[in-house]
Amino acid sequence: MILTKAQYEEIAQCLVSVPPTRQSLRKLKQRFPSQSQATLLSIFSQEYQKHIKRTHAKHHTSEAIESYYQRYLNGVVKNGAAPVLLDLANEVDYAPSLMARLILERFLQEHEETAPSKSVINSMLRDPSQIPDGVLANQVYQCIVNDCCYGPLVDCIKHAIGHEHEVLLRDLLLEKNLSFLDEDQLRAKGYDKTPDFILQVPVAVEGHIIHWIESKASFGDECSHHAYLHDQFWSYWNRDGISQCCSGWCGTPGLSSSSASASQSAGITGMRKHFLPGILMKCVCK
């Protein structure tokens, strides 16, 4: 399904300082009934992440953390069952999961001698039952299940989408009888950075020759495209010699989002740095 840039902009416009909750998403769905929930969620998530990236720092000053923590403590003293942490996050315009992490870190600092390691925190966020304080565990859990843009569950959903699309892509390649090397095989050969698939025999799609395909479990807006381009695609290009001349996305605004809003990119000869609308969608969308 092709999403025009204008449509994308319109959706993104509605997402300015909206908390990443179920309710916001529901409103968004009502507003744009023609878009699938996955697409909306993906755009939401992307836009919200951008927002968080911009504001992230101000929530991490020690003063801010201290004041959040005090507010949390005051809140739970009054009523431990109330959504104290969630409300706090929404009020200060910060992701609930991230707020939960912040408070949890602060809490552990206070209750344990040593500063908690990242893995301990992550593990507690994944399974709040491990949090020694029952009230905090509930608060954290509430934040996590109510956050639709951050948190271990959202991460897992994203990861699952990526995996699913890789599988879809693989099926499609198999179905089209295209021979390819997947990531595992490439890694076995010692490549340090690999795209999802390298085609052993390049194919031409709409006049562009495709050497490799990378599936991204996120909506390919311009900004994230650039980031990926920087982090990954050039790396492939740097490594695969001829077989990596370009990347084209299919999730860029003005481009498309597949049914599950994954964006995909492909290595295309001779067109580097140009975004190629819709090229891969034919391959990806069933």
């Binding site: 990861h159 699952a160 989408i161 010692g190 050039w234 740097n238």
Partner: protein
Amino acid sequence: MAAVLESLLREEVSVAAVVRWIARSTRGSEDNPGEAAALSSLRPLRKEFVPFLLNFLREQSSRVLPQGPPTPAKAPGASAALPGRPGGPSRGSRGARSQLFPPTEAASTAAEAPLARRGGRRRGPGPARERGGRGLEEGVSGENLPGAGGRRLRGSGSPSRPSLTLSDPPNLSNLEEFPPVGSVPPGPAGRTKPSRRINPTPVSEERSLSKPKTCFTSPPISCVPSSQPSALDTSPWGLGLPPGCRSLQEEREMLRKERSKQLQQSPTPTCPTPELGSPLPSRAGSLTDEPADPARVSSRQRLELVALVYSSCIAENLVPNLFLELFFVFQLLTARRMVTAKDSDPELSPGVLDSLESPLFQSIHDCVFFAVQVLECHFQVLSNLDKGTLKLLAENERLLCFSPALQGRLRAAYEGSVAKVSLAMPPSAQAVSFQPETDNRANFSSDRAFHTFKKQRDVFYEVLREWEDHHEEPGWDFEKGLGSRIRAMMGQLSAACSHSHFVRLFQKQLLQMCQSPGGAGGTVLGEAPDVLSMLGADKLGRLWRLQERLMAPQSSGGPCPPPTFPGCQGFFRDFILSASSFQFNQHLMDSLSLKIRELNGLALPQHEPSDEDGESDVDWQGERRQFAVVLLSLRLLAKFLGFVAFLPYRGPEPPPTGELQDSILALRSQVPPVLDVRTLLQRGLQARRAVLTVPWLVEFLSFADHVVPLLDYYRDIFILLLRLHRSLVLSQESEGKMCFLNKLLLLAVLGWLFQIPTVPEDLFFLEEGPSDAFEVDTVAPEHGLDAAPVVDQQLLYTCCPYIGELRKLLALWVSGSSGRSGGFMRKITPTTTTGLGAQPSQTSQGLQARLAQAFFHNQPPSLRRTVEFVAERIGSNCVKHIKATLVADLVRQAESLLQEQLVTQGEEGGDPAQLLEILCSQLCPHGAQALALGREFCQRKSPGAVRALLPEETPAAVLSSAENIAVGLATEKACAWLSANITALIRREVKAAVSRTLRAQGPEPAARGERRGCSRACEHHAPLPSHLISEIKDVLSLAVGPRDPDEGVSPEHLEQLLGQLGQTLRCRQFLCPPAEQHLAKCSVELASLLVADQIPILGPPAQYRLERGQARRLLHMLLSLWKEDFQGPVPLQLLLSPRNVGLLADTRPREWDLLLFLLRELVEKGLMGRMEIEACLGSLHQAQWPGDFAEELATLSNLFLAEPPLPEPQLRACELVQPNRGTVLAQS
């Protein structure tokens, strides 16, 4: 000098005698005594004759050529000329060779100082030729402008130094791109490289006073005040006088007189001060071509004689640069009109035609006649030019007019020519692919080094891409844009090993980008265009042509451009300069030297004259291509080696003189050469591989600094090269000697080298040319590479793009007026780069090997190549096969052994390193099978491949021998590798497998259980896991709240959700372990919420709570999912985590029956053990609960534990404490 010419013209001596006299120091016995006597008196002048002749001709033609197309010259500024860009004020001023003819006395005096040192060269001052204003002046005054060909060597034989002009003015802003090597910064005359030929035009005092230095800052732009060429001025020739008898002063005095005489005769010199850097004025309007008529040639006999002498000198390689002379001749041929009225000079007496008193070229007719005469003598060279040039020549109407015979031969040559030459397209940059064998982690000392290199690779390409995107933008500066990033990157290369890794990448990228078209020039002529046109791929061809026309450089900078770094090479040059890292340079030099040695020593196939059958043509295509690739790679590498090696010695300052020079020489002679090029050259000559060695050596030497040619070591090299040059007489062709085009290539590159600024101008003529003495003692095979037709026109033109200037000259003539031309057709040849196939190793010694050699000797070379190729491929395939079969089997064994080990040793499994050791000790001995298997594989595969590749008609005996040799070689190769590496390979693979297994085992050992795939009938239509997680998450968030009053889920929805979950879990297609883990956890959470009745149910307002029955049904579904469908571990203990049990505390009234039900079912289904549940319940007591809740909890646990089967007697005791309440609760 002139005496010789005079006596020649008077027919006192024969041309042959003169040429013999020039070429040989000893008098030939065949000389007629009279001639000998006449010449022997002139003996001291012998070596000055050629420079004299060249200057004489240039001078004589000066009236014709001013308006002509580019004049041969070396000018750095010209090399990167872009069409349509006007020359600027500083044009050429940096170029060491651009300083042609100092137009003013002051300037020339200044220039003389350094010159005098070198063999007392004298120069006649003269105005620099003005190019920009040329047409203008001519149009206005019709004055004679000394110009294009107007160069003169004076006195003691300086080699001709061509003047610089281009049809396209150089791109000034691009000067930065020119190599610092050999370039001289703009500055006073003394710093500039003096010209080698002296413009004959008399000095202009006015100008010398007013603008003394104009010529040095912008030689091509000048006002030419004098109207008369000095062609009439015979006095400075020093008739019959030994050199040196005239001082410079005297000569200058004479010139001055001459000038004043001319000034009186001619009208006021019009000197329109043209704007510096003004674009080339269109010649279209102001000029009409003067028709040339053979009938109007003034002194045929004299012209014929001079042409003959001149041609002979060219043929004997007595001139430094063959193509420069051809260029000059072409200029004469295409001269448009004579600029001076013939009889404007009263001194010119038309009667004195047989002496030098009269101008040689009195009209266009004379020029064309002379040119055609010379060209007739060099038909062979012409016929070997590219097809485009031939076409233009054959279609030249003047040629037709003056020599129909030559035209006919040229036409025939054109029709027979297949030498289409393409100016190649620049490649789009391609990155060097990741090389698993060298870039692997195993080749780095540490993880850190590996990752650093990984990052550097990315930085390097980032820099490269940025350069690609920006380097053509005006105002973009390499150093400013990328310098600091490059240095930062170099700074990270701390370890020596990292340097070598990076240098390898750098060198590979260099070869990849520049060896292919555009960087250094095209590769090899392919047949693709013809094939394509046959196939009708017309549009594609046109597209290519168009692209080429857009991309190909229009000018390579005149017939003698300075060394440059065109295209992508510029990036690498700038990178080296910006990095300015000593370590990097050293590693780079090491690496380049190594690669050059390797390529130079590559056993290229040799031509076998006996190979007369039809296949040879086909074979030679491939061989030529291989040669071309090797040669171009070598040239590229040598160029960079020269650049880096001489970098520390080059600078903008003028070459040192006197004592300073001596001390520098003493110092430098201590320094060992970076690569022993002298030995390589000597060996190359001995092995008759000059055609490979010399072109790259020339590239290397072209970057030498001024001191280098003075060093003994390099002087030897130059002497060798000079001798070689002299020996390459094109007309001498014989079996086993060098091929024509090979010679032509060597002549072209050597000629170019002799024009390089840093090569002393006297070198060429000072050296006694023992032409007959050049007999290298060849220990070489009878037929060296030199005798093989390895060079074709494409390669020639690729190596020497300046030869293409000839074509441009002719095209310019055809195009009439346009100076910018570029409109001529180029043939388009897509090029392919071919990798340098690694030469198979030939380690086998002994009789068998000698027999094999003998066998190949008698067979066509293609057979040998086929066998070697097959052996190489099969050997390599064999290793891969072993890896995929034997090693893979061993790895599987290792995995199962590991599993056993893990089972026996318990879940901890023990130390991985220890495990690996155990496994390897068990498995590595099996590696011994590899050799047998490998032998078997080669035995099985090689014969078929050889059979398939050799011609059907190959005799059976030959075939079977070839097969056997192929088997032997392949086996040798494979076994050598296997025996050396198999153990390490197995070890590595097993290690990878072990770590894989251990990792897959993960933190939870239960994950190890065998995973089932989808059932065969599964069509993978189940809902996607991501969708389900997201749905369940929604339910969870609803249940946890906060929620709006109208929010909730319907029981149907819940049921449907669990149904979908089942489908998803049964279709494993899209499920990855993390997703499954989360699904499991979510399902447990869901169960807890069900048990606690926390899920808000949508429905008729009354029914806000889930019915017991519905809840039980849902729990049943979950239990079944946990039991049947989840393949990963399900964290069921979470059901009894304080948090989830705590959910019950919030419900009023509390209902425990669902929990009890669930626990019982869990035990019943074997999902949890009683003990486990007991432990969980036990730990629940430790948490803090409201009083009544704790009590109820205790009751529940007692109740649960009371039920049969009862594994532990003490549990029953607990149950007996409070039996009643629990029962009540359970029943409520």
